[in-house]
């Protein structure tokens, strides 16, 4: 039995499991403490489930935007930019015009910042994943890149695709995991014709927001919209069993696995 170099930790933060998998040699445990302390701070500040978070206080009118922390103002400003970029399909007020819920962006943004903590500590080969959205950097081992499976939207124990990458953020939005939780902010209904959207690119906050927006658009509009993304690539699984991807979507060099069962799940 050989053991991998580096450090690994899975912790439940921000309401989801967060995986930190560092593959560099000689990194101290301190850096993991710093990463998870940061994520716990994000949760305390942004959670809509905590009465005393700044977002909850903003929503109750106890706190004005001017009095909020700079990180809160930064996140809300980015949410507004992303709302405009996505024709309103990513909306921190999607649930109700009176309630702010930036959690769709906060998760990716928090992981982007956590990656910066790792970089500052000298980490160059790592994966950070929060509830299925992730940032990958460097290599999993000297001989191989990070291999990421994209969850099959209909079969829990299968993946629909495998991608190989070195420096990338990967975010997936879909309705399969906890029922329809994404709604089209325009029609106020769950999207139709689409099972999942995966977006890859340099920034996890943006990739996550784009995936949520494209999923909310549904199978009719999402292909056209994702084809126009700049600097980001997308893979869409449509309800009719078609998988559409932008020409630059990352591939796997060894796509043919002996365990492939083509066609499963296609109606």
């Amino acid at each position: 039995m050989s053991t991998l170099p580096g450090l690994r930790r899975v912790e439940h933060v921000m309401g989801m499991p967060v995986v930190a998998d560092l593959r560099d040699e000689d990194l101290g445990e301190d850096v993991l403490e710093e990463v998870f302390d940061w994520l716990r701070w994000v949760d305390a500040t942004f959670s809509t489930y905590r009465e005393d978070s700044e977002i909850s206080r903003l929503n109750r009118g106890e706190l004005g935007l001017a009095g909020a922390r700079p990180e809160v103002r930064e996140v809300l400003a980015r949410c507004e930019e992303l709302r405009e970029e996505t024709d309103g399909f990513f909306d921190a007020r999607a649930a109700s015009p009176d309630l702010l819920d930036p959690s769709g962006f906060v998760k990716g943004w928090a992981v982007d910042r956590a990656a910066a903590i790792l970089e500052a500590a000298g980490a160059r080969n790592y994966a950070l994943s929060a509830g299925g959205d992730m940032r990958l950097r460097g290599r999993a081992a000297p001989a191989w890149c990070w291999r990421v499976g994209i969850q099959h939207p209909l079969l829990r124990d299968a993946v629909a695709k495998v991608i190989e990458t070195r420096d990338l953020a990967v975010a997936t939005s879909g309705a399969y995991a906890r029922g329809p939780h994404v709604i089209d902010p325009h029609s106020r209904r769950p999207p139709s014709g689409i099972l999942s959207v995966t977006v890859t690119g340099p920034d996890l906050g943006a990739a996550d927001a784009y995936a949520t927006a494209a999923f909310a658009m549904g199978g009719g509009r999402a292909p056209h919209w994702t084809a126009r993304l700049r600097g980001y690539e997308a893979l869409l699984v449509l309800a009719d069993g078609r998988v559409l991807s932008t020409p630059g979507f990352p591939a796997s060099s060894s796509a043919a696995s002996p365990n492939v069962r083509p066609g499963t799940g296609v109606p």
Binding site: M1, L4, V10, H12, G15, M16, P17, V19, D21, A127, S129, G131, G132, D133, M134, A140, W146, R147, V148, G149, I150, Q151, H152, L155, R156, D157, A158, V159, A160, K161, V162, V170, T172, S173, G174, Y176, A177, R178, S196, P223, H224, A227, R228, V237, G241, R242, V243, L244, S245, T246, P247, F249, S257, N259, V260, R261, P262, G263, T264, V266
Partner: protein
């Protein structure tokens, strides 16, 4: 479903050896003469006509269509699936977003949804699951699998 049934029968046979007789009887009671079943699969490449896309040059879309004909007795079922899409004559322009804006044609690659079991991967990207048990267990199993 079928797999679960077989497993149950096998377990019963193991637990009670006398049950073998019952299992044999069950197998013999199945209808013997099944209507003959024939499956014909044809995969064809279908090219669209060449269309001149303004200043972006000519464009042609090719589809790969798989036709599966299942014949059982006099009954015939035909199922067609698009298994590939290709644009062999590609507009000579690097700015695909400009092209798409003008033509409203997403130049997306297409394939059929596949299921890969026990893939050799480090992590899984998927929608957030609040039950978490599955993702958490899978992620930790994946982490472990790579240290063996």
């Amino acid at each position: 479903m079928r797999r679960a049934l077989t497993a149950t029968v096998a377990a019963a046979a193991l637990a009670v050896p006398a049950g073998n007789a019952a299992a044999t009887a069950l197998a013999q009671s199945k209808p013997k003469a099944k209507p003959k079943r024939r499956v014909v699969t044809v995969t064809k490449r279908v090219a669209g006509s060449e269309v001149y896309a303004g200043r972006w040059g000519p464009l042609r879309v090719t589809l790969v269509v798989k036709r599966i004909t299942t014949i059982v007795g006099a009954h015939r079922t035909v199922k067609r699936t698009i298994v590939g899409l290709d644009v062999p004559v590609y507009p000579d322009h690097t700015d695909r977003s400009v092209f798409i804006n003008q033509q409203a044609l997403p130049l997306l690659e297409q394939e059929a949804l596949q299921a890969h079991y026990s893939p050799n991967v480090d992590l899984i990207s998927g929608a957030t699951d609040t039950s978490m048990a599955f993702v958490e267990s899978l992620q930790s199993a994946l982490l472990k699998a790579r240290s063996i």
